[in-house]
């Protein structure tokens, strides 16, 4: 099998699964318990938090472990909105956000918040100038993703961070779920107040992740209870999940050092070859993230291509896994100005550091043949 759906989820690293298993079995105590077993588990989790902080060059107190991207995005956005509604009710985001940001903002509109959904250009990138102009004295939050999950477009987070710095009244949240370990992002001194990460996109396990909360940022929690995670996320900690997440994070950062050039090379290779196939339209930009390639084959239903490739042992996907059940056109491609026929036929090929050049060669060959074959049948 050639697995090219890494933006939906990655294959968990074996040692990460082992770590989860060992912690579940051996360090099962509740870290809040007073006895020695609890103290030991608390120490383990503290150490995990410190290691994550070192890897991300932040402070351990700025880490809240979560169940993943959707929770992190919800906690960040609703947390700011509910805490600071007295300050203002305006939120700025984009039209290409992941559903867990987009729908969260939609839900806040029901509660009386006003949301500006900024458009993007044909490369799928938001205009920094537009972000600046959208800010009003009612704005309390800007939420913009780092790397788009469908096209891999990279948003100008550093520049938006500079704008956010000049408006101390508002908070800047970044959904970095697709960027982690692939596209570098500095958190401190960047103007970023909140940043979401997920475990299962970096060869960790589902149900794991973390939210970076810059020191001094206060949120209204989604879960109330025993005041775990500094009162921001009550509920007995998923210590095994958290430890396994940090392990996955470490492995990812180590692989990034060596693997980044490799990823860029095969991304370029895909770009060059897929663009030459008759009837294939490339949606991703050459300057996008090196692990996501989005193409459309107008006239062919994406499901048909996916099934045909799966029969030949190749796994790719349509748009984003989270919204692919609605066989509509892609909101992201639509927002990037693609025609209806292009945005309803998007296919996503997403890579990992494990993807080999050989696999990509096979994919390109098989994909080319499959498209030709399917088109022949239809004509």
């Amino acid at each position: 099998m050639i697995y090219l759906d890494n933006s939906a989820t990655t294959i968990p690293d074996e040692s990460v699964v082992q770590s989860f298993k060992q912690v579940s079995e051996k360090y099962f105590a509740n870290p809040s318990s007073i006895h020695e077993l609890g103290a030991d588990v608390e120490r383990l989790q503290t150490k995990a938090r410190e290691q994550a902080a070192t890897l991300l060059q932040i402070d351990p107190s700025e880490i809240i472990f979560t169940s993943g991207g959707t929770e992190g995005n919800n906690l960040a956005i609703k947390g700011v909105a509910l805490k600071y509604q007295g300050r203002g009710n305006h939120i700025i985001t984009t039209e290409i956000e992941h559903a867990s940001v987009y729908e969260t903002c939609k839900s806040l509109e029901e509660l009386g918040f006003t949301v500006t959904y900024l458009p993007v250009n044909s490369d799928g990138v938001v205009d920094v100038q537009m972000v600046r102009s959208a800010i009003t004295n009612k704005t309390i939050l800007i939420s913009i993703m780092h790397v788009n999950n469908e096209t891999g477009s990279i948003q100008p987070i550093e520049e938006i961070g500079e704008i956010a710095k000049k408006h101390p009244k508002l908070f800047f949240h970044v959904d970095a779920v697709q960027a982690l370990g692939k596209v570098p992002l500095q958190l401190h001194h960047s103007g970023i107040d909140l940043c979401t990460f997920s475990g299962h996109k970096i060869h960790g396990l589902k149900g794991t992740g973390m939210l970076y909360i810059k020191k001094g940022t206060v949120l209204y929690p989604l879960f109330h209870g025993g005041n775990q995670e500094q009162g921001l996320r009550s509920g007995t900690e998923n210590v095994a999940g958290n430890v396994s997440f940090v392990r996955a994070l470490r492995l990812m950062m180590e692989r990034k050092q060596k693997g980044y050039g490799h990823l860029q090379k095969i991304h370029q290779n895909l770009f060059n070859h897929l663009g030459k196939i008759d009837g294939v339209y490339i949606n991703s930009s050459e300057h996008g993230a090196p692990h996501i390639m989005n193409v459309s084959v107008p006239g062919l239903k994406p499901e048909v291509v996916i099934h045909a490739l799966f029969e030949k042992g190749i796994v790719i996907s349509t748009q984003s896994a989270c919204s692919s059940k609605q066989s509509d056109k892609s909101r992201v491609l639509d927002a990037s100005g693609r025609s209806s026929v292009v945005s309803s036929s998007g296919l996503r090929i997403s890579l990992s550091y494990d993807t080999s050049e050989k696999e990509i060669e096979i994919f390109i060959r098989t994909f080319t043949e499959t498209i030709k074959h399917l088109k022949d049948i239809l004509e």
């Binding site: 770590s19 120490r43 150490k47 060059q57 430890v243 470490r250």
Partner: protein, 399 residues
Amino acid sequence: MHYDHILIRYGELALKGKNKNQFITQLQRNIQQALKHYPDIRVKRSQGRMFIELNGQGPEPIMKQCKKVFGIYSLSLALKVENEESSIKEGALFALTGSPNAKTFKVSVRRVNKGFPIRSQEMNRILGAHLLKNTSIYTVNVHEPDVEIKVEIREKATYIMSTVVRGAGGLPVGTGGKSLLLLSGGIDSPVAGYLMMKRGVQLEMVHFHSPPFTSERAKQKVLDLTKTLTEFGGSINVHLIPFTTLQQEIFKSMPERYAMTIMRRVMLTISEKICHEKNILSLTTGESLGQVASQTLASMNAINEVTNLPVLRPLVALDKEEIITHSKRIGTYDISIRPYEDCCTIFVPKSPATNPKREIIHELEKKVDFTPFMNEAIAKKETIKIVHNVQSDHFDELL
């Protein structure tokens, strides 16, 4: 073009005559120790300065670590260029245009290498003109510039800098001898330790714990505090003294009003014995005058009597607020306020003597000989070495 070096200045050290070389060697060693997780960098010495070659490593984390190393007066990101007029011009332009929010500038050339054909003043003028010609938003201000472009023309290369960041000051840890810090787990003692380290002192810790009245978490707190202090220099030994039996014995046999004073005397006596054993010539405490009953001058007089070693009290004249400010800045505050009982908070007499008398104590101590208990406690001492950036334990394989 990017900054590829960090230049380190060590003000106070340069003044120390004979010991200068030893001080600089220690500083270099401490910087290397603080940066040992960055295998690509090199720390080099050169005529009154130190340079860190970044070799591709990003400067941010290196600057952050170095800002904690005592003995460093200031730091600058530096760009290394050839000793060529054209390269220096190009580098100066990079340094200026990369300075955020700067509107005015000044150029300061130091020509250490007298073989370089253009004199400092002339070079100042050439570079200033070059910068003005190639930019439009900057003006020269020699008195209060937003950014000073410093150019040091040295033997083999020229270094160009635009920002000067203050270092931690003080003296390199390890150049000021050793002191044994009585570490309780509260807010004060870690700050006292920090201030001694700032003057170059290498610390060892002694902590008294009383299981089961004090928990494993209280012990962990002390280790975590020590770990935080190692960020300011090297490694620190923690001596953990089991104190339960002694403490019970004292509170059983001594009148309540004097029990606390006598307990402190016992602690100091044990600490002195550790000093003798480890060749340590002083003790440090976090006492601040008048803060609590045991910290009145009369109390200090009564407690101090048991040892002849200097007892250093760097916090003696600080207010609690000042101490808290220090502890928040150095990162020990959040650890110190963890709510675990320590051995000083469990047996608290209702009204301890604030004006204890030596004569009364002498009479009281004649009744019971605590020496065997003290010897037993010392014999059962556990020593843990905490090394900066090294925290290997049984959790490692999971992470």
